[in-house]
């Protein structure tokens, strides 16, 4: 747009305005659904308690003692897998790795979950599983799997119910007069 500022003729300005208006008014129509690029997945790294891993793990994972003691993890995922390096990259503590050796960041951990939860992943990808906020008709923010599921004990945790504000439905609050 900035180049066009130099062109002073009215016609160009008008033409430009016309096209901008036209495109802007057509875009939302053409874009009835939503394009994948309109979706932002909330990043995880900044939310992780032990981030950055490099403050303790320099190089690779070797030689730090009993992992469960340090991180106080309760591992309740996949009965027979408690091998940390099944998911965590042994080369780089700040990455995860997939079955084919690809390393991914913690922000992309959904790619790891996909390996075993393909069905749920497909639902998540179209917004059926999990939570999307923002615009039903526009840009959305999506929660990563690990926002809701602890990767090491993924069962959705029980929570405290907020109190029901209505004690006596549809009656005036007697005590308040």
């Amino acid at each position: 747009m900035s180049q066009h500022k130099n062109l002073q003729t009215d016609e160009v300005g008008l033409c430009l305005k016309f096209w901008v208006v036209l495109v802007l008014s057509i875009l939302p129509m053409a874009n009835h659904g939503y394009a994948e690029e309109q979706i932002t997945i909330i990043e995880r790294e900044s939310q992780m308690g032990f981030w950055p891993c490099s403050s303790c793990h320099t190089g690779n994972f070797k030689g730090l003692g009993d992992p469960n003691n340090q991180h106080q993890l309760t591992f309740k995922h996949m009965e027979n897998v408690n091998e940390c390096l099944f998911c965590h990259s042994f080369k780089n503590p700040e990455r995860l790795h997939l079955e084919d050796g690809t390393t991914i960041t913690f922000n992309e951990s959904y790619r790891l979950c996909t390996l075993c939860h393909g069905e749920i992943y497909r639902e998540w990808k179209v917004g059926i599983h999990g939570l999307q906020t923002g615009y039903w008709k526009g840009p959305k923010t999506r929660r990563n799997c690990t926002q809701c599921h602890n990767a090491h004990a993924p069962k959705f945790p029980p929570m405290e119910a907020l109190p029901n504000p209505v004690d006596y439905p549809n009656k005036p609050a007697e005590g308040k007069h």
Binding site: H32, T133, G134, K137, P158, A161, P165, V166
Partner: protein, 323 residues
Amino acid sequence: MSENSNSNNKKIDVLLKEKPLKRRSFLKALATAGAITFFPGKQTKAFAGTFTDKKDRKGPHLTWEKFFQKYYKEMTPEDKKRVFERITRETKEYYGVDITLADPQPIPGVKFVFFLNLSKCNGNRRCVIACQKENNLDRSKAWITVLEMENGGFDFEKSDRHYTGIVPKDGKFYLPVQCLQCDNPPCVKVCPTEATWKEKDGIVVIDYDWCIGCRYCQAACPYEARKFNWKTPEIPQDEINTNQNYLGNRIRPRGTIEKCHFCSHRTRVGRYPACLEACPTGARKFGNILDPESEVSKIFNTKTLFVLKEELNTKPSFFYYFD
């Protein structure tokens, strides 16, 4: 949800039969009250906020300006501007906040539906509180009622709406109920002043300045979705949501009916409803069912959906499913 559907059915029948009479009697009541009687038809505006309990002098007064206000659907843009200015002024006077009042219109080609995944909902009531704040409800009221149900059936008699503590509880599931925005709404049919109607995008709206507080609609609704304002809503000043819709979440006058309107002030500009965004489990899904790419269309095609009290033929736009 405690009454059974049959008695509700009867109630609706009775109300429907009485409808023409009632309208006349409202006119009479107006006449005997010494009010203006020469307004024909819809112009017979009765007054919201006059359901008086004489002690309660709080709340914006009934003014002549309000009394002579036109029916919403007949307002010109200038009429609307005047009315919105009056409400903005009154809200400033009474609640001390500056609001932005508008009336976003239905988006062409959009029909809203709400889907709720009962396998995910854990009854934590985040939605109830988010709704209360978003929609400027009195802090002792809620538009969403979450019923704690016994597993294995829909026995409303055995449901509990006052449960507390850690959820989900064993052997229970949770059923949030709010206005289902029926396509065949019994509430709309019984309104003697036509203060409530269904809009093109499926939302059933209320003109609170036209509502006379007779509560017929409340009795007609089989889902207990409609709530009555016995008093002027009390809201902490700093919690008032200033983004307000005339037919939606503006602060309701005392003596009027209110209910969920699918967050029309948000959804009609493309945003998700507040309850959906507040749900930590992701059980709530909302969107345009006419758009095949929307989440709701995809759920519609893959899950088995059901509605509450289907036998009443109310045709809700709010569906539930398990997965």
